[in-house]
Structures are given as structure tokens and as C-alpha cells.
């Protein structure tokens, strides 16, 4: 009687911890921590480009609205002026896939005339 009760009580702790540790290690290794981009943004998809760290930069919505960290930005010039000195050389933008390309090119031109040396589009890499 005593034996049975004890064994049912102690059951699964080690196994539980095993699984939970496994999940913990998986998420620590496989996930990357970053600030979330805006919710309703569909990223441009590309394949066969090198990967890079998740971006923390200017987001352009499909209607041409600019945002940075969830806050609307008035113009490319305003965004560029707010950047720290060491991040001004290369400016990254994250456009929505359905954004008009002409708007995107105009934005890149504005950023370059504001002083950026290179303007780079950040895309989502396909899993191939």
C-alpha cells in the first residue's frame, strides 16, 4: 500500500524537467531576440542572398506610411536626422511587399540626398 502510493506521487518530475530543458535549449539556440516589426507588414521575399541580423530600422507600409519602432515618421529626412552618427552611412529600410516600387525608389533617393552613402532593402529570406 505504502509503496504504491509513494511511487504514484513521485512520478514525472525528472522527465518533465528533461522535456522543458530541451524546449528551453531549443528556443535559446534557434530563436533570435529582436524588436518586433510592425504587425501588418508582409516582408518582401527573396531566396539565395546571405542572411543578416534582424533589422531595427525604418518600416514602409504598403500605403507609403513610414514608421520606426511603431511610431509614425513624417519624412525620410526626419528619420535620417534622428539616427545616431554611427548608423548614418548605411540606411536600411524594410518595405512592405505590396509597396509601390516608385515610392520605394523615391524614398531611397531622398535618403541618399539627406546624406546616406548606401540604401539597403531588408527582405525575408525564403526557407530553401
Amino acid at each position: 500500500m505504502r509503496k504504491r502510493r509513494q511511487s504514484t506521487r513521485r512520478e514525472p518530475t525528472i522527465a518533465l524537467i528533461n522535456i522543458v530543458f530541451l524546449m528551453l535549449v531549443f528556443f535559446m539556440v534557434a530563436g533570435t531576440l529582436s524588436r518586433p516589426l510592425d504587425g501588418e507588414l508582409t516582408l518582401v521575399r527573396t531566396a539565395d542572398l546571405e542572411g543578416r541580423a534582424p533589422p531595427d530600422t525604418l518600416v514602409v507600409h504598403r500605403d507609403g506610411r513610414l514608421a520606426y519602432r511603431g511610431q509614425d515618421i513624417a519624412s525620410a529626412q526626419a528619420f535620417y536626422d534622428a539616427r545616431p552618427e554611427d548608423a548614418r552611412d548605411v540606411v536600411r529600410i524594410v518595405p512592405d511587399a505590396a509597396l509601390s516600387a516608385t515610392t520605394l525608389v523615391n524614398l531611397a533617393r531622398d535618403l541618399r540626398s539627406a546624406g546616406a552613402a548606401r540604401v539597403v532593402i531588408v527582405t525575408e529570406r525564403g526557407l530553401e
Partner: protein, 126 residues
């Protein structure tokens, strides 16, 4: 003796507490999307091209692609450009966009053009 056994049992619950906390934190805060980047319009604006270099003109529509007036498939772009002025080191390319072209389409083309070494791409805005 009894004290010892009590001490041993203590840690398990708080350990699981902490581990669950960590697990939740990493599950909720990590992202799995992988990012990459492509430069838009590599050539610097305002830099004059030597006048003897022949420029190529690429018209981009949402489902059409024309190089110097001839329809080309996206996959056939490298061949189309290797036929143009094979002896020169650089081929300047002007990309003009139709109104309906999306960022996705432009990026697809830029990725292909980026794979061709001697092109100097310049995208025209409005």
C-alpha cells in the same frame, strides 16, 4: 537525518519555476524569420557616365520585362546582358518602373541583376 532529506527535496519546485519562466521568455520573445538585404540602386546618383559607354535600358512592369525594347524572361536576364557589349568592363543599366510595380517585383529583379558582375544599376524614380 530527517532535516537532510527535507533539504534535498526543496529545490525541485523552484527550479521548475525558474526554468518555466526562462522557457516562456524565450518562446515569446524569439523570432524565426530570417532576414537578408539587397542594395537599391548601387550606382551613385549624379556621377556622370563616360559618354562613349553604351547604356542599357530595362523597362520593368508587374509581369513584363524589356531590355532595350525586347521582351526577356526574368531567368534569361544574365544571357541577355552577356550579349550586350561583351568587351566592356561595366554596363550601365537604367531601370524604369511602370506605375503598378511593387517592391516585391523590383526586389526580384534587383536580386537577379546583382548576380551579374559588370552591371551598374540605377533605378529611376519619379
Amino acid at each position: 537525518m530527517r532535516k537532510l532529506s527535507r533539504r534535498r527535496r526543496l529545490s525541485m519546485t523552484s527550479l521548475i519555476d525558474i526554468i518555466f519562466l526562462l522557457l516562456l521568455f524565450f518562446m515569446l520573445s524569439s523570432t524565426f524569420s530570417r532576414f537578408s538585404e539587397v542594395e537599391i540602386s548601387a550606382a551613385s546618383a549624379g556621377k556622370a557616365n563616360p559618354s562613349d559607354v553604351k547604356m542599357s535600358f530595362l523597362q520593368l512592369g508587374e509581369d513584363s520585362l524589356r531590355v532595350n525594347g525586347q521582351d526577356v524572361e526574368l531567368a534569361a536576364l544574365p544571357e541577355a546582358f552577356s550579349a550586350i557589349a561583351p568587351e566592356t568592363d561595366t554596363v550601365p543599366v537604367l531601370v524604369s518602373l511602370r506605375a503598378e510595380v511593387t517592391a516585391q517585383r523590383l526586389t526580384d529583379v534587383l536580386v537577379v541583376l546583382r548576380g551579374i558582375a559588370r552591371l551598374r544599376v540605377n533605378v529611376l524614380g519619379s
